[in-house]
């Protein structure tokens, strides 16, 4: 991917993701991770190469929750479905269900400014869940949250992944988060971003919170950390 100003952001990156796979991408800041997602989602046109994504039902979680501040939680969760013309009754049922899945029940009538950072992100996830996405793209969704909130949301996300079985691509700076969530972790180099390492994550599902304290977990995290260090030079 080369931007009009000549910035060469993503180079020779190639992978595919199937339903039931969850691929995390880690890499130094500015290497082109967001660009990769923007291309995958169709927000950006790639300048060369190929990109094939089933965009019929696509979930996209931005770095910020991007809630509309004048809408309540319920109306925010409804937004994607509403914009895509889902019939009202079907919408209402799905919204209800999505709010329950992200444990925001009871907060439906609150406005975003009344929510904590973690609740906002949950609301944002619910907004995509309403579409039953087959492909789910995450661009550092929990980067702004504290460690505990982030781990809680990771636990919830992995439950969601187990029940919904979408194809997931997850961008993050946290190696622990990547290993915990993913079936596969891709490490990218500094700009122009190339793939420098590619790991299958062997841990079986269902994954539980304590997996994080496992020796194998630490070993894999260490390897990825090492590759990431090398990729910075």
């Amino acid at each position: 991917m080369v931007f009009p100003d000549g910035t060469h952001a993503v180079d020779d990156v190639s992978f595919d993701v199937r339903p039931g796979e969850f691929v995390s991408v880690v890499g130094p800041s500015g290497c082109g991770k967001s660009t990769l997602l923007r291309i995958a989602s169709g927000l950006e046109r790639h300048t060369s190469g190929e990109c094939e994504v089933d965009r019929s039902s696509l979930g996209y979680i931005f770095q910020d929750a991007t809630l509309l501040p004048w809408r309540t939680v319920r109306r925010n969760v409804e937004l994607n479905a509403e914009l895509q013309g889902m019939p009202k009754e079907e919408r209402a049922a799905k919204v209800e269900q999505a709010i329950k899945l992200v444990s925001l029940t009871g907060h439906e009538n609150k406005y975003p400014k009344q929510l904590s950072g973690g609740m906002k992100m949950r609301c944002s996830v619910a907004r995509s869940l309403v579409l039953n996405p087959k492909v789910f793209l995450f661009d550092e969704p929990f980067g702004a949250l504290d460690e505990i909130t982030r781990e809680n949301l990771n636990d919830e996300l992995i439950r969601l992944f187990q029940s919904e079985r979408f194809a997931g691509v997850f961008i993050t700076h946290s190696i622990a988060e990547a290993v915990f969530l993913s079936t596969r972790v891709i490490v990218m180099s500094a700009r122009p971003g190339r793939i420098v390492a590619d790991y299958q994550v062997p841990f079986a599902f269902p994954r539980v919170h304590d997996l994080r304290y496992d020796a194998a977990f630490a070993e894999l995290s260490g390897k990825i950390s090492h590759d990431l260090k090398g990729s910075h030079s």
């Binding site: 931005f62 770095q63 509309l68 501040p69 895509q84 400014k113």
Partner: protein, 290 residues
């Protein structure tokens, strides 16, 4: 005019700051300062009226407050005292509100069109600036020629004054939409209209309300100024003040001036309240429930 709108803008800020401070304070801290200040103003007024002026000038230049009350405020008569003043105020107020309404409709439409593309914005913006910078005084002969000497021309003056803050604030509001919100709507393949209706316009509401408050104040000033120039039809408060001072009916002139500024304050407070009501759930400028 720009002086007037500047004054109003800073007054908007002052009122907002005040509202923020006010919640949770003892009542006397809220009411005592303005009462003391009012007393001081009246005191200075008496001082100027009695100490600094001789009897002849006092009657003409600055009658003391109690004479305004006696000779104007408490007189109820079709041709004297407060009644014609209130009637004229009603006329002027109506002109101001009609002008404001037209300015809101035209101004918001213009801003929405300008927001469609950079080229349209570039093409239209100079005209908006021209409207703002042309002195109304210079336009009076032309307006007379085209629209005559009656109420229509007065309404037009209001529109000319009120439309610029509506256009600029609406445009600013529309353009300050978050880039990621745009991405969100792009991902859902929404039409241009839906984007405007469900994202840009609601997001622009705080800015639009700011514009509305400035425009409302400007429109009231415009209606009073218009009274002076376009004298046919129902008599407005501006013309009444002019008549009274020419006829040396000083007390009534002062009362009329007082009533017109009171009207301005009421309009201002009303739009502040309206904006607060509309935005309180989500915008920081309004006092929220949390």
């Amino acid at each position: 005019m720009s002086e007037a709108t500047d004054g109003i803008t800073s007054a908007v800020a002052a009122v907002e700051a005040n509202q923020r401070r006010r919640s949770g304070e003892a009542w006397w801290k809220v009411f005592l300062p303005p009462v003391v200040m009012f007393g001081a103003v009246i005191g200075v007024w008496y001082f100027v009226s009695y100490v600094m002026m001789d009897e002849r000038r006092r009657g003409i230049a600055l009658p003391p407050p109690h004479e305004i009350v006696d000779k104007a405020l408490l007189v109820w008569h079709p041709k004297k005292g407060i009644r014609p003043i209130l009637e004229a105020m009603l006329t002027t107020g109506r002109v101001a509100l009609i002008g404001l309404l037209i300015a809101v409709v035209l101004g918001m439409t213009t801003a929405i069109v300008m927001n469609l593309s950079k080229s349209l914005e570039r093409a239209i913006f100079p005209y908006a600036v021209v409207i703002q910078t042309l002195p109304i005084l210079a336009l009076v002969p032309i307006i007379q020629l085209w629209f005559g000497f009656a109420l229509t021309s007065r309404v037009l003056v209001c529109v000319l004054i009120a439309i610029f803050p509506i256009i600029t604030n609406t445009l600013f509001g529309l353009q300050s939409a978050d880039r990621m919100h745009h991405d969100l709507f792009t991902l859902n393949r929404t039409s241009r209209f839906t984007r405007l209706w469900k994202m840009e316009l609601p997001g622009a509401m705080p800015a639009i309300f700011t514009g509305l408050r400035i425009a409302a104040g400007g429109s009231v000033i415009g209606a009073i100024v218009g009274d002076f120039f376009f004298r046919k039809g129902e008599i407005g408060i501006g013309r009444l003040i002019d008549n009274y001072s020419k006829d040396l009916r000083v007390e009534e002139a002062f009362l009329a001036a007082g009533v017109s500024s009171l009207f301005g304050i009421i309009i201002f407070v009303f739009f502040g309240w309206l904006s607060n009501r509309a935005l309180r759930n989500w915008h920081d400028s309004a006092r929220g429930r949390t």
